[in-house]
């Protein structure tokens, strides 16, 4: 028994050190890539990072807490809009960033406190509705530029390289956050809620508090992403609140494997790469391929790619 325990522990340490060295190598490669790749490659990687950040955040709330949000881009849109709006009011960049961030966190707390009272499909529909309301407001408010959106002063727009490193950093931090959340006491409560809300509350898990907290936590990376979006693209239009972005993060997380740490990353890489690269060579066909990938994965591997691989490895 003791010998077996020792072997298990040794195995764990080995696996951990392999994981650490692989990730260090990967990060080193990602840091050097912008010097090697053509501009298009760097931009493509940025859009992959962008998708990964969205998918990890979505996975936190849907994969671990079982709350399927169809409006998770509310935080993205409201932080880009708030940030550019404040900058254009002449407020200092740092202050604008802080205000935009805290505004969107407060918004998540407010919206969350209302929406998490309902479950399942009702929750999904309500999140979608809130996002559509935000889009309608953006579309019809003169101060928010209506359909033309808001523009950052061109001098403030970051270079592709700066954006690359900022996005890379945010992606790593987001992954670390989700790792920490999933492997904490709080993560255990999330798992319990996902499997059975009744049983979880009967053994002392505060459903409202736990769900509200994950609603807010999962919006944080997206709120920061909104500010990076402003620096990188330099503008925003109402479609940022649209269903397409919400579905994209959903597809990425589901194709990769909901409720797994690596799944959302794998899903985002595959879907972003396939739609972008195929769009380069077969314009118009790329979205068809996107659909086919989703169909094939969902039919053959309902737990997603990483969900399938990890259960295989365990066996």
């Amino acid at each position: 028994m003791a010998a077996q325990d020792k072997r298990v522990r040794a195995n764990k340490i080995l696996r951990k050190s392999t994981a650490v060295s692989v990730s260090v190598a990967l990060i080193a490669i990602l840091i050097t890539l912008p010097y090697i790749l053509p501009a298009y490659g760097t931009a493509l990687l940025i859009s992959i990072f962008y998708a990964v950040i969205l998918a990890i955040s979505f996975n936190l709330i849907a994969g671990y807490a079982g709350l399927f949000s169809l409006g998770h881009n509310l935080g993205l849109g409201s932080s880009v809009y708030a940030f550019i709006f404040l900058i254009n009011m002449g407020i200092h960049v740092l202050l604008s960033g802080f205000i935009a961030f805290f505004f969107t966190v407060a918004l998540a707390a407010f919206v969350g406190a209302i929406l998490i009272r309902v479950r399942g499909a009702f929750f999904a529909i309500l999140t979608l509705a809130v996002c559509q309301i935000a889009m309608a407001i953006a579309n019809n408010t003169y101060e928010l530029g209506r359909a033309f959106g808001l523009y950052l002063p061109t001098t403030m727009v970051w270079s592709t390289q700066s954006s690359y490193y900022a996005m890379l950093l945010l992606m790593l931090v987001t992954y670390y956050l989700s790792y920490k959340v999933v492997n904490s006491r709080f993560g255990l409560a999330l798992h319990a809620i996902r499997e059975s809300e009744e049983a979880a509350s009967a053994i002392g898990v505060d459903l409202f508090k736990t769900k509200l907290l994950i609603f807010i936590i999962s919006s944080v990376p997206i709120n920061i992403l909104g500010i990076l979006h402003a620096f990188y693209y330099g503008f925003t239009i109402p479609i940022v609140f649209g269903l397409f972005i919400a579905l994209q993060m959903q597809f990425s997380a589901i194709v990769g494997g909901l409720g797994t740490l690596l799944g959302p990353i794998i899903g985002s890489v595959i879907l972003t790469l396939s739609s972008n690269l195929l769009g380069l060579y077969f314009p118009g066909v790329s979205w068809m391929f996107y659909g086919v990938v989703i169909l094939v994965v969902m039919t053959l591997l309902p737990q997603g790619i990483w969900g399938y691989v990890s259960t295989r490895v365990k066996k």
């Binding site: 006491r185 255990l188 409560a189 798992h191 319990a192 996902r194 499997e195 059975s196 009744e198 049983a199 979880a200 509350s201 009967a202 053994i203 002392g204 898990v205 505060d206 459903l207 409202f208 409720g259």
Partner: protein, 250 residues
């Protein structure tokens, strides 16, 4: 003199036009095992759901130790009631399927107790509950892969790990074989004897109930029919007509 741990007074619970519980009064004394029986739909599980905060009652009150935990005016949330010291199991087991047995019970220890606890202590406590319920050999098994008997034991282990003063057990042995039933009877006796936990046990398997409990309350159509010792209940003509069907021989 017996000390009251739970006092249910005039509880009425309706679902639309259906009266699930009609003016029910029950007193549970500290240290006893109270059997709660009755035909399907007589309101046994509904009563558990009222006590544990899942359903608000239309009228009446539930008092646990010195606190009103449910009435028409005020209902504590299930997690608050759990922390006060009432544990429960579910008739249809609700394991956290993707978690191991140990992690299932760990949730109870970490969230179900009044005091916060370090992770190392929590693991030890969880393992103790698992061992108590005879699941040590399954501690690393994913709970979805357990058989019915072990799932029911896991329900008990989770409830016990919250350190309840009162434990509500909802049909732990229905669908089990005679051997497994005997195992459960022993386990439930041990819970009272070794841990000093008061128990209310809902069960259809009369053999198990009659051998274990001190007192029986019979519900029928949401109302209390009779209460008394197992011997009195088994020969009561109203109970025989409503539930037992023929005279139950102990």
């Amino acid at each position: 003199m017996a000390i009251e741990i739970l006092r249910i007074e005039g509880i009425t619970k309706k679902f639309g036009g259906v009266v699930a519980l009609n003016n029910v009064d029950i007193i549970v004394n500290e240290g006893e095992i109270l059997g709660l029986v009755g035909p399907n739909g007589s309101g046994k599980t509904t009563l558990f759901n009222v006590i544990t905060g899942f359903y608000p009652p239309e009228s009446g009150s539930v008092k646990f130790l010195d606190n009103i935990i449910a009435s028409s005016k005020k209902v504590l949330k299930p997690h608050e009631i759990c922390k006060m010291g009432i544990g429960r199991t579910f008739q249809i087991p609700k394991p956290f399927s993707s978690l191991s047995v140990l992690d299932n019970v760990l949730v109870s220890v970490l969230f179900g107790r009044k005091e916060s606890i370090s992770m190392a202590d929590a693991r030890r406590e969880a393992l103790y509950s698992i061992e108590f319920c005879g699941l040590s050999h399954q501690k690393d098994t994913l709970s979805m892969n357990l058989n019915l008997n072990d799932k029911r034991r896991l329900e008990l282990a989770r409830a016990l790990a919250t350190e309840p003063k009162l434990l509500l057990i909802d049909e732990s042995v229905s669908g089990l074989n005679p051997n497994e039933i005997d195992g459960f009877i022993n386990l439930i006796r041990e819970i009272r004897k070794k841990r000093g936990i008061t128990i209310v046990w809902v069960e259809h398997v009369m053999r198990a109930i009659m051998k274990t409990v001190n007192r029986v309350v019979v519900l029928n159509f949401g109302s209390k029919l009779v209460e008394g010792s197992p011997e009195v209940i088994a020969s009561d003509s109203k109970v025989i007509e409503a539930y037992l069907g023929k005279k139950y021989v102990l």
